[in-house]
Amino acid sequence: MFRLKNMRKSTKSNLVTFGIVIGFYIVIQILSALGLLTSSLSGQLVPICSYVILAVSLNLTVGILGELSLGHAGFMSVGAFSGTIVWTTLYGQVPNWLGLLLSFVVGGVVAGLFGFIVGVPVLRLSGDYLAIVTLAFGEIIKNVMNACYLGYDSTGLHLSFKDAASMNMDPTGTMIINGAMGITGIKKASTFTIGIVLVILTLLVILNLINSRAGRAIESIRDNEIAARSVGINITKYKLMAFITSAVFAGIAGVLYSLNYSSLVAKKFDYNTSILILVFVVLGGIGNIRGSVIAAALLTVLPELLRAVNDYRMLIYAIVLIVVMIFSQSPQVVAWRKRILDGIRSRMKPGPKAKEVQ
């Protein structure tokens, strides 16, 4: 009896999350068909999906594993660059769907590889130290990509971290990454539909992971590392598993993001982006996957919606952040909210409808 009820609870909660994503997709499609979608909003659709994936994947590290990572944009960056390189070099040589699929796979795998390389030494640390090292990782990636010149000609690949001239490339060669200018002339490929499919894929993998043997092991490390080890959890393995999974999806989100624009520069993936993603996670509720989805979507659209009051845009954005934070986190406000809700419920109870709601 108990088991059935419990299983249903987590499954039901997950279904609501998927329902929200699919509902959002349908509403946007209808609005778009009716011509009600402003161009600024439709331009935000792919970034929304990208940020949702980033927030959900970061929540795996911050909320489920319980380690603060400030370098999520770094993984997004390596994913974006590797995926975009695959896309631009394969463009026209293989069918577009295959090129796209490969670029997402490569972006995810490369980011995951970086997750492993960074994770092995970094996960020995915890708390503030881990946060600082991941922050440094993000900055290193940004600066390395900013100084990276990559191209190819008939003699093969050429790479330099100084300038274009020192690549010794044939003048007829093709430039792939041009230092601070990044990758230009990308054929746009990301669509809202692809974005939503990737969001659903991310949610499926991460929610299923959380509600499994491995997910419980990860959560137990968050709650009490010493106790987790004492019941036989290999904490290095599960910390790495969470960290790498998180990085893989950050990489995929990076590819999705970069293929939405015609150019890709390393500067985009800086400290601010990492913090922005963390804000989504904290605002949506640490450990609350559905909260991350909603917070990422709303906070990505909000600055666009506030364009009408352009001068006060960032001011209102900041106020919204503070108000939401107080509303969702302050113990007094949470208690007050609960009282109000209970009041409404008890008033509704005698009615037949209230039962259906509950």
Binding site: K5, L209, S230
Partner: protein, 253 residues
């Protein structure tokens, strides 16, 4: 051969010799007590037996296998489980999940089985639920299975720790002050529980406890530590009358 054989075990933190020359023999299915004044090194012994600390000398042999200095997760796999003096539950997880985490190495399936929800996932999860509920029932916790561990009252949290430790299918269970903070009724109930756990699971239990009624009531053999060294060993009666033990507890020359 005894289940656990500890010989000449010692650990020094810098210049401080916390435990020295400790010998301990634990037979299958028996109840042992480890007592001593505060700071005698009892919990340090537990931490060495479970791999939290690496001993600086001596060795620990469990069931013929040397587990000295192994990592805690390997020692757990080898068959030593423990509870903690200051309760360490997975507070934000449900009572049921606390036990299911501890079944980690008993009922296994791969990460991919979980992510892809292969048929084995449902089957193994059901098996875990059944086993976890069976353990919770022994401690009368099955009705609280869906609560968060932090929502349990203190006494039940202590019981949940024991249930969780048993889920790892141990050969040896270490209880660190299981009766701390309990009233006499709860302590008496706990004594029965500990005894019945030993009988049902056929495992050896080594416990640290300050409540002498508890220790004398259920332990078949008692080791007394003082300043990191064994000062006495024997059954309850001989310990009670040992002048060294009395001096250690009450002071004297």
């Amino acid at each position: 051969m005894a289940l656990l054989e500890v010989s000449n075990l010692g650990i020094a933190f810098g210049g401080l010799q916390a435990v020295a020359q400790l010998d301990l023999k634990i037979e299958k299915g028996h109840l042992y007590g480890l007592i001593g004044p505060n700071g005698a090194g009892k919990t340090t012994v537990f931490n060495m037996l479970t791999g939290v600390y690496t001993p600086t000398e001596g060795n620990i042999v469990l069931d013929g296998k040397d587990i000295t200095g192994k990592s805690p997760d390997l020692i757990s796999k080898a068959g030593v489980a423990r509870t903690f003096q200051n309760i360490r539950l997975f507070n934000d997880m449900s009572v049921l999940d606390n036990v299911k985490v501890a079944l980690h190495n008993q009922i296994r399936y791969s990460m991919w089985t979980g992510i892809l929800r292969l048929p084995a996932y449902r089957e193994k999860e059901h098996e875990m639920d059944r086993e976890a509920l069976r353990l919770l029932k022994i401690f009368d916790l099955d009705k609280e299975a869906s609560l968060k561990a932090s929502q349990l009252p203190y006494g039940k949290q202590r019981k949940l720790e024991i249930a969780r430790a048993l889920a790892t299918n141990p050969k040896l269970l270490l209880l660190d002050e299981p009766a701390a903070g309990m009233n006499p009724n709860e302590t008496a109930e706990l004594m029965n529980t500990v005894r019945s756990v030993r009988d049902q699971f056929g495992i050896a239990i080594l416990l640290i406890e300050h409540d002498m009624n508890f220790v004398m009531g259920i332990c078949e053999e008692i080791t007394v530590l003082d300043y990191g060294r064994v000062i006495a060993h024997g059954d309850g009666k001989s310990i009670r009358n040992n002048p060294k033990v009395i001096a250690a507890y009450l002071g004297g020359d």
